[in-house]
Amino acid sequence: MSNYAIQVKNLTKVFNGFTAVDQISFTVKTGELFGLLGPNGAGKTTTINMLSTLLKATSGYGDVSGYDISRNKDNIRRSIGVVFQEPALDIKLTGKENLEFHAMMYGIEKEERKKRIKEVLELVELTEKEKVLVEKYSGGMKRRLEIARGLIHEPNVLFLDEPTLGLDAQTRRHIWDYIKRLNKEGGVTIILTTHYMEEADFLCDRIAIMDRGKFVAMDSPGRLKDILGGDVVFLEIEGNADALVNRINSLAWIKNITRHDENLSLTMERGERRIPELINVARENGVNVTCVHLRKPSLEDVFLHFTGRTIREEEASQAERNREILRRRFGRRR
């Protein structure tokens, strides 16, 4: 078994002249939890579809579990599990029947099948609902059933495309816990896509930020945030500000300082540990601190830093682009 679950080089997908994925390269280590973060339409799903053999790459090389995506499709299909962005369940079958269908398609023998279906149903707490038609399931239940299904054939690599899209906060939290456990206890390599910053931050060992088909940055969430220079501490003060500013400027760990009258905003690492010291320094200089506010940089700030736009802004303009993609892609067929 190689050290890498996935190796991708210059992978590209062009739909009728529109480049959805543009020469991306990355590797994912076995056992890693890797995230593709970006707005809708950035090319995340297209990337997943190429790696899971559903779409043919226009150019470039991809390798999943040691198999070439353009040649060893069946081997890849056997070694991966995929949870698609939109539900991919037969709603006219019960939850258990959906799992049985899947297990049989993957050639799992009867006894083993029964055992594993029981296990995964317990894992996602759907045992009581196994005989209910999927059309009666809630969104969260469907999602859990799909994750369960992705695990029946014990894949080496699990692809999760927007695993918590459209779910309420509580269910989302629940699914995050499953994903973490699968990765840490089950040792499954997981690639997930998301446009929720906090999801990528909470779950992923490493993140690639994707925008308009390209990777704009790739690193651990912590280090990505460090690029911004650390936390920002806002101080509201009363008294002789000039002396204090001079004093603070001489501190080695202060990276940046800006002043608006009685308000100071200071950039530093590990801001929460520095606040007491800052208050002491202020008191020594005869200045009263009336209010303190600490702001940790989020991945949202990181996205802003690299693209000059926030993800939300990006999504508004993306709606128009998506229509364009659909037109180009499906236009000729209608």
Partner: protein, 254 residues
């Protein structure tokens, strides 16, 4: 290459869905039975050239209506790939490690079984209403033709499904493909009454041989010999299945 478990499980899925949609079965049976009842009763006393006097129009019509029911249900069966695409389930099927041929065979097995169940029900109801079947062995012969018709049009449905993105083109297929195939086949009237040029076109319609084969099997009266009907249907069904499988394999699943 052919994964038997996959074919089987796809067939089982189709059977479960069919069994759970009982209202759909009733709906699918209603139209052919209405055709049979109203056309049969309406034209009952008319002497139609090409229908022998001792056969009678209703007896002539029953095999045609059975052919019609299979034409509709199996074309829709092939097109049902589009429903799976709509509901996302197609991706679940396509990402599984089974050959695409097995997937096509599974769909055909399922679609042909449901079409056959409906056709046999219509035959049974006609029998109860007084339709005289030649003899017992003719039922088996008729079932052979039913399967061949079903496979042919499942292949056709698959071809269309591979070329369409969603159900929007459905009414076009319905109006410009299925109905012309139905009317050209001679299911409702003897083709001898068509002008010569139209008769040539109807000879290109697979359903012509299907319906004629059903007539040969069930009432012993037909335009072509039962053997040539059989050979034509074997050729049509093989070609359609191969084309259907080819286009299905080529089509993108997302």
């Amino acid at each position: 290459m052919i994964n038997k478990t996959a074919v089987y499980v796809l067939w089982v899925r189709e059977m479960k869905r069919f069994w759970r949609a009982k209202s759909r079965i009733v709906g699918a049976l209603a139209m052919p039975l209405f055709f049979l009842a109203f056309l049969g009763l309406g034209f009952r006393r008319m002497a139609i050239p090409g229908v022998a006097g001792d056969v009678g129009y209703i007896r002539f019509l029953v095999p045609g209506i059975i052919g019609m029911s299979i034409l509709f249900s199996s074309t829709f069966g092939g097109l049902s790939v589009l429903w799976d695409r709509e509901f996302g389930f197609l991706k679940e099927i396509m990402v599984a490690p089974v050959s695409r041929v097995s997937i096509v065979l599974g769909r055909i097995a399922g679609g042909a079984t449901t079409a056959l169940i409906q056709a046999v029900l219509i035959l049974g109801i006609s029998y109860i209403m007084g339709f005289k079947i030649l003899n017992v062995s003719s039922i088996f012969l008729a079932i052979v033709f039913m399967i061949l018709i079903a496979v042919t049009f499942l292949g056709l449905g698959l071809i269309f499904a591979s070329k369409m993105r969603d159900m929007q083109g459905f009414s076009i297929v319905m109006n410009f493909v299925i109905f012309p195939l139905f009317f050209l086949s001679g299911a409702l009237y003897p083709l001898e009454n068509f002008p010569v040029w139209l008769r040539y076109i109807s000879k290109l319609d697979p359903l012509t041989y299907g319906v004629d084969g059903l007539r040969a099997a069930l009432i012993g009266v037909s335009s072509f010999s039962i053997f040539s009907n059989f050979i034509f249907m074997v050729i049509f069904s093989s070609v359609m299945i191969l084309l259907g499988a080819y286009f299905f394999e080529k089509s993108e699943s997302v």
